[in-house]
């Protein structure tokens, strides 16, 4: 460092600006658009009146797409577009619930396990290991057979079962950052450990990871809901629509649109959720 570098205050090569704009995130916008659409449908679906009995009209059985029925009609003449929109109700709020449980529970447990050295930390670590051994789908189906099956039970269980994954990520962060100089400096400056842990470590450092995991959890709930509804016993029951039980109509073996549209929706939504989580996380990481 000699006189050749007059302005040390200038940006070092590893500044955020250089990384930020390198790739205009097309993937982020595309996946974000799809996720926004799914969330919008989930929000407006409860506002749309739907009477499953009145929707049946054998006159227009298996009709193809037209202006009055944009995505055609199914085997009982019900409008597919409307059923797709109503079908989001089955997983939207449960997905939000699972996401909240997993992220808040995971962050809290991870912080506890990483910060507390005593028996509390030990107990949390043990509990996380125990939860981690449960196979998710099998456990959800098992609970559904024992208890009264329903989307909120499934979502709560899925949320809880994702806690160890998120906790492990947060715990690693807490443990590696605990010996960082700035954490020590914050302690010496009199900041409360809970503030350092909650704000400086979990919020500032773990946020991208948490966003990614939240999207994974939501897509998992969507996946489980459609799978169980497809299989039939524990998911959404006919005549109420769900993307899963709409695909299940394939088993009747007729028509193209009735199974194609929901199948595409399922695949695209899950892919978009995962891609969106990744893209957001990567963008946040690149801004550092």
């Amino acid at each position: 460092m000699g006189g050749d570098h007059p302005s040390q205050e200038c940006k070092a090569p590893s500044t955020p600006g250089s990384k930020k704009l390198r790739s205009l995130p097309l993937g982020l916008y595309l996946s974000g658009g799809i996720v926004a659409l799914v969330f919008l449908l989930g929000l407006i679906a409860p506002l749309i009146p739907y009477d499953p009995a009145a929707a049946v009209d054998y006159q227009r059985q298996l009709a193809g797409p037209s202006w009055s029925h944009l995505l055609g009609c199914d085997g009982q003449g019900r409008d597919i577009a409307l059923r797709i929109v109503k079908g989001t109700e089955a997983f939207f709020w449960p997905g939000i619930l699972a996401m909240t449980i997993a992220v808040i529970g995971g962050a809290a447990c991870g912080a506890c396990a990483g910060y507390m050295r005593g028996w509390v930390g030990q107990a949390v670590r043990g509990l996380m290991q125990l939860l981690d051994t449960l196979p998710r789908l099998v456990f959800i189906v098992l609970l559904c057979t024992i208890l009264d099956p329903g989307m909120y039970l499934i979502a709560t269980t899925a949320g809880v079962l994702f806690i160890p994954t998120i906790a492990a990520i947060c715990r690693r962060k807490v443990e590696t950052l605990a010996s960082e100089d700035y954490i020590l400096a914050h302690i010496a400056h009199g900041f409360h450990p809970a503030w350092i842990l909650g704000y400086h470590i979990l919020w500032l450092q773990c946020r991208p990871l948490l966003i990614r995991q939240a999207c994974t959890v939501f897509s998992y709930v969507l996946f489980v809901e459609t799978a169980l509804s497809y299989l039939g016993d524990y998911g959404v029951q006919e005549p109420w629509p769900s993307w899963g039980n709409m695909v299940a109509q394939t088993r009747e073996g007729v028509g193209f649109w009735p199974w194609f549209v929901p199948a595409v929706m399922i695949v695209v939504s899950i892919a978009a959720l995962l891609a969106f989580g990744n893209a957001i996380a990567r963008r946040e990481e690149a801004m550092r």
């Binding site: 400096a185 400086h200 450092q205």
Partner: protein
């Protein structure tokens, strides 16, 4: 007058590959109200460890094993190492065994009301000591917010900008919006000083705050310490291996080497070459082209 901080017979022991080593061995010193004490010593002399021990930031084993640290907060004298003897035992072969978890809990309980407003620190690597993901302004605001919780957001921002102005940032608003990696080491150190002093501490421990900075920046930072400490009337422990910095800032100096205090003298005596000097101190003075005075024969 009661001293602000009194350290007596402080002993810090670390586990090393060759067994336990006393890195601080019976160090004693005191800091008066509003006084600046300089600690002078080479790398490995135990000056940084002593100050970390005072701050309660040593979590290695066995760490602090003996001594007494008394800090005066308001009208109370708080003994920071009280109960240490119940956590440490010395085995017949001389090895220290410490229940570190219990000790750390104790330290946290005792130090929580002291950290920040009682004593605080500025360390030698300012960039690593700032949160890399938070703007400087927000970090100063956090500190301001702790000192004055009733402020509104706008008032907090104004106070943070005032502090950045006080530590002589050329463009406070730009610094306010910058992340630590966008600033030079000297500017980061200024920000650290702002964060530390915004709590109005009674004692500021500056642990080699100018290490790794350019010569001109060092001079600016030292001058900044001088003016801010005089203004706030806080006490300071200024730790450095640079005798000139220490003599400029401190009224009294202790010289440390291999974990021991070799000598304690006023800056005036050292500068004017009065009294008898320890040979090591004389070497340091000589290296800085200062009069060494009379050098004692016995070490």
């Amino acid at each position: 007058m009661r001293p602000l901080l009194r350290v007596r017979d402080l002993t810090v022991v670390f586990d090393t590959a060759e067994g336990q080593r006393k890195v601080v061995d019976g160090v004693s010193f005191a800091v008066g109200m509003g006084e600046t004490l300089g600690i002078l010593g080479e790398s490995g002399s135990g000056k940084t460890i002593s100050s970390s021990a005072v701050l309660g930031l040593i979590d290695d084993t066995p760490g602090v094993c003996g001594g007494e640290i008394v800090f005066t907060q308001g009208d109370h004298e708080i003994s920071l190492l009280e109960g240490l003897d119940t956590c440490v035992t010395q085995r017949p072969d001389g090895l220290y065994v410490k229940d570190n978890r219990r000790w750390m809990q104790h330290v946290r309980r005792v130090m929580t009301p002291i950290w920040g407003c009682g004593m605080t620190a500025v360390f030698q690597n300012p960039r690593q000591c700032l949160d890399p993901l938070e703007r400087i302004g927000a970090q100063v605001e956090e500190s301001v917010g702790l000192a004055a919780p009733h402020l509104t957001a706008a008032e907090r921002m104004q106070a943070a900008l005032d502090w950045l102005q006080k530590v002589q940032m050329r463009d406070p608003l730009r610094v306010y919006r910058s992340y630590p990696h966008e600033l030079s080491g000297g500017m980061c150190q200024r920000a650290m000083i702002a964060i530390a002093l915004a709590r109005h501490p009674a004692l500021l421990i500056a642990d080699e705050p100018t290490t790794g900075l350019d010569t001109t920046v060092r001079a600016e930072i030292v001058a900044l310490f001088h003016s801010l400490i005089q203004e706030s009337q806080a006490s300071m422990i200024y730790i450095s291996h640079d005798i000139r910095e220490v003599l400029y800032l401190a009224s009294r100096v202790i010289v440390m080497r291999s974990g021991r205090v070799l000598e304690e003298a006023t800056s005036e005596d050292l500068l004017l070459g009065r009294g008898t000097r320890h040979p090591y101190t004389a070497t340091l003075l000589h290296a800085a082209d200062l009069p060494t005075g009379q050098v004692s024969e016995t070490v």
